[in-house]
């Protein structure tokens, strides 16, 4: 059977696409601290109606197997990010500023472990 004949078959009886649905829950970004002593790390996102619900759902979705001891959530729309188009300029390796690195300085052998 070819792919065209599959398309010719009766479509599934789903329901028609509704345009009047209520707005979806806002999107939140989730940060999890794996254990005390480590940074919170971004681990994904989820939808929740408000902050307490976002924390609750983050626990259910992202820490079912001891992945974390602390959770942060923040509305995705509240995050300001750098523009990936500016990456070359923003994160220029600054090879002309080698003096920022410790290896730039040649010291006598006796103190070179400094």
């Amino acid at each position: 059977m070819s792919e065209t004949s599959v398309q010719d078959q009766t479509p599934l009886q789903g329901r028609p696409t509704s345009a009047t649905a209520a707005p979806e829950w806002p999107l939140w970004e989730v940060f999890v601290r794996a254990k005390a002593g480590l940074d919170h790390k971004h681990c994904g996102s989820l939808h929740a109606a408000d902050a307490p619900m976002a924390v609750q759902l983050a626990r259910e979705v992202y820490t079912r197997r001891q992945e974390g001891t602390s959770v942060w959530v923040v509305r995705s729309s509240d995050i300001t990010a750098s523009d990936p188009g500016d990456k070359a300029m923003y994160f220029d390796p600054m090879e002309d500023k080698v003096y920022r690195h410790p290896t730039f300085y040649e010291l006598p052998e006796a103190v070179n472990h400094m």
Partner: protein, 337 residues
């Protein structure tokens, strides 16, 4: 596989005329893929790459979601409290996997509602395997062993997918998926080792019914796969359908021996010259029938998803109303202070 409908969607023509700037961006994009780099959500990407990924990731998400239904059928009838707890944990994982994947798809600029609408209206596909019924308790074990086993085969290469949010979701999913396969095998082993003759027959019957549909999960043969070449080029698909299928068969045949069941394929035999198992012809007519909406449970699965969504509408609305009320209350308090 969970995204097998990718192979069945019509091929789309790409725009032939592009601006110089776009051609430069695309060259940089292709170069990054060639050197094994990742593409992040806000990076420039060709429209066709974005569309392919939305379709693939959402199909994958839909499969995880619909995949809860055949297993949910046995939650209230699990034979022991232990098995019920395991099954519930597994189903919760599937929901989680669906959520990771929907979130990854949303980074490409589609909304969750759009994605769910495509599923509910019957426009979007999910894996053909979930249109088969779970007739006995042994089916639950066989789904873990064969269906999740096949899923793992396919998903491990996806952890190196060029689209980073998808790859990261897959890393998380693969970490959890191993439990699914092992619990399935474990439950079958208990029935085969300690069970009655009837129970052993039940396991064999489940294997007979799920074996061929499991092999179909990998999608049509490479020659008939519509999007394979472009997806391979873009690092979305790393290993071909037929190669993955062969790998799965080779691994599973050995496991079946440990279990003491046979596969319903008289031609299944190790071929010394090839170093792989030979196997009989797959009924691709059945595959296309199920993908086309005419499997045993297509209507039932879709109806269950739509009902769950519609029945939950008041909960979603109430949560939003509560959140709005709390926000107003807090604003008043701040004003008063």
């Amino acid at each position: 596989m969970y995204t097998q409908a990718m192979d069945t969607a019509p091929r789309e023509e790409r725009k032939a005329v592009r601006s110089v700037a776009e051609a430069q961006l695309e060259a940089a994009f292709e170069a990054r893929i060639d050197e094994g780099g990742f593409i992040e959500a806000k990076d420039w990407m060709p429209e066709h790459y974005r569309k392919t990924l939305v379709r693939q990731i959402s199909q994958h998400a839909h499969s995880e979601f619909v995949g809860m239904l055949p297993e949910g059928n046995w939650v209230t009838r699990a034979p022991t409290l232990k098995r019920k707890a395991i099954l519930l944990a597994k189903i919760q994982d599937e929901a989680g996997h669906g959520l990771y994947l929907y979130a990854a798809a949303e980074t490409l600029g589609v909304s969750r509602d759009q994605l769910l609408d495509a599923l509910h209206s019957g426009k979007a596909k999910y894996s053909s395997i979930f249109n088969y019924p779970t007739l006995s308790w042994a089916d639950i074990g066989v789904i873990g062993w064969l269906v999740d086993g096949a899923a793992i085969m396919n998903q491990v290469p996806l952890t190196r997918c060029s689209y980073a949010p998808y790859a990261r979701a897959m890393v998380r999913i693969c970490r959890e998926e191993s439990f699914h396969q092992r619990q399935g095998f474990d439950s079958l082993l208990v029935m085969m080792k300690d069970g009655s003759d009837d129970q052993r027959a039940m396991v064999q019957d489940a294997v007979n019914r799920w074996w061929w549909p499991s092999l179909m999960m990998f999608g049509p043969p490479d020659g008939e796969s519509v999007h394979g070449a472009q997806s391979a080029r873009w690092g979305i698909k790393r290993i071909s359908n037929d190669d993955l299928r062969q790998k799965f068969i080779d691994a599973t045949v050995e496991q079946a021996q440990v279990l003491g069941v046979s596969m319903p394929d008289p031609l299944l035999k190790f071929n010394d010259a090839r170093g792989h198992c030979d196997f009989g012809p797959i009924d691709w007519d059945e595959f296309w029938r199920v993908v086309g909406g005419h499997g045993p449970c297509n209507q039932e699965r879709l109806a269950a998803r739509v009902k769950a969504w519609d029945d939950g509408a008041w909960v979603r609305d109430a949560a939003m109303a509560h959140a709005a009320k709390q926000a107003r209350k807090q604003a008043r308090q701040e004003q008063a202070a």
